[in-house]
Symmetry: C2
Subunit: 261 residues, 2 copies
DNA sequence: AGATATTTGTTCGTATGTATT
DNA sequence: TAATACATACGAACAAATATC
């Protein structure tokens, strides 16, 4: 709808003499193109291997590599059996995050980097969500809070509570109609869940933050129910500022302990 | 530890008969794992096809599909010839954006969505860049402005100027040390370049915006040179607010003209 | 600059696995 | 259960690209 599915660099110009590009990639791009031109939607089936082999005058292996490429890009899903073949699919958020994670793997992403973004985006997404959330949504938020509204009994429960705290924000983001913003916010949350440093941090007991966090989130729900955008924004901004402070402090603590040993 | 490794209660007992996952994906993941375990860095070479075939007791086609998967994920690059094979590679920003674009393809992303993010992120990245930019950077910014500091002669030049205006922000983002923020900001810029609606908008003449844009950018450079974070933030915020306003107005105009026809 | 060796890229034929009917 | 239709996997051979001498 919005913009075109993009081809990899080099897909534009075709030098007639030498085949610059591999046959596999040519076919992958060609299939991608027909998907766009025919306006195929998720669930629609592409021609089967045999037909594609004939259509592009390529062998099975080459066609399969092309389909594999599309599969990894999250554009198709391949099913065996009668009536099987390649079916158009929407890339899952999970896969998008995984791929983006590969890009950021090499770069060094710090907690400060993540919170620099969260501090501005979480308030934004909360206000956006406020305009679309319904009773079921509020119930989901309250159910999530219930997971961590009490002292954890063991390390496992403490871990689960930390994850649930992030899930709270994930649920909020679900109700925004800005797909771009929602994805970004949820990706930041996933980074916090995955970063090795955070694993160490989240394992620490932090009695203060938990209760203050709950207070913020209860206030946030109230403000959302009241439809008070300014208040929602302010509450979330303060919540993020405090969370960042706490995370950075714990990060330093974890680092120091590591040095002492 | 004296006790045996136990299976989880619900863990999948390996059915010896049927393979849950495709061999290709198993091999791709196995290779990915060894890449991490061995701490391979860009430029390092993986075993060649022959060796991988022996190592995983798989056929050439299967191994090739696995490598294709890694290639699409931007993790390796494959070279032919003596000493060739799969080499570890960092995913390019270009590919990361392309893949993320595939995810957002299905979702409807509006100009308003993009500017909701730009309004908060561009000021942020400008302040961040201010702390690391050098004389060469300032020169690049001024060179970019030079592309659009005069009336365009034809449609082509007008188009080039619009792209250069976005490039200005791209250069700014380059000097931020927050990889996450920089990527996000540059991705938004790419969306503006690619969105079909924007193509129509950017083709329109807009004499006012160009000059005001240049004024903002000159002021921005001055504020960055002075190291005035507050001012940098304010200038960029105002610039984005105005740009959004203009874009939305033109979007409506383009839409109306489309309806008239 | 050209020949050669090495390694990926592609093809074809065949057999097996899997889901539908 | 059996037949069918499709993807999945194997193996051998050939083609194309590229580094090295």
């Amino acid at each position: 709808m919005s913009h075109e599915i993009t081809s990899e660099p080099g897909s534009v110009v075709s030098k007639p003499k030498s085949r610059l590009r591999k046959r596999t990639d040519e076919i992958a791009d060609a299939i991608k193109l027909t998907m766009i031109q025919h306006g195929l939607e998720p669930g629609d089936r592409l021609p089967q291997e045999k037909e594609l082999m004939a259509q592009y005058a390529a062998s099975k292996g080459t066609v399969r590599e092309a389909l594999k490429s599309l599969e990894v890009q999250g554009l198709v899903r391949i099913r065996t059996g009668p009536g099987g073949g390649a079916f158009v699919e929407r890339m899952s958020e999970r896969r998008a995050m995984s791929l983006l994670g590969n890009y950021l793997f090499a770069k060094k992403v710090t907690i400060a980097d993540i919170y620099a973004l969260r501090k501005v985006l979480e308030p934004l997404v909360a206000v956006s969500a406020m305009r679309h959330i319904d009773d079921a949504g509020f119930r989901r938020l309250e159910d999530t809070i219930a997971i961590y509204d009490h002292e954890p009994n063991d390390a496992q429960e403490r871990w689960d509570q930390r994850m649930a705290e992030l899930d709270f924000h994930s649920v909020v983001a679900e109700y925004s109609d800005n797909a771009l913003l929602a994805f970004q916010v949820r990706f930041l949350q996933r980074l916090l869940k995955d970063l090795a440093v955070c694993h160490d941090i989240y394992r620490q007991p932090q009695p203060v933050l938990r209760q203050r966090g709950i207070a913020f989130q209860r206030d946030l729900i109230d403000a959302m129910r009241a439809g008070d955008a300014t208040k929602v924004n302010a509450i979330m901004a303060e919540h993020m500022a405090l969370a960042e402070q706490q995370m950075l402090a714990l990060e330093a603590e974890v680092a120091n302990r590591f040095i002492e040993v």
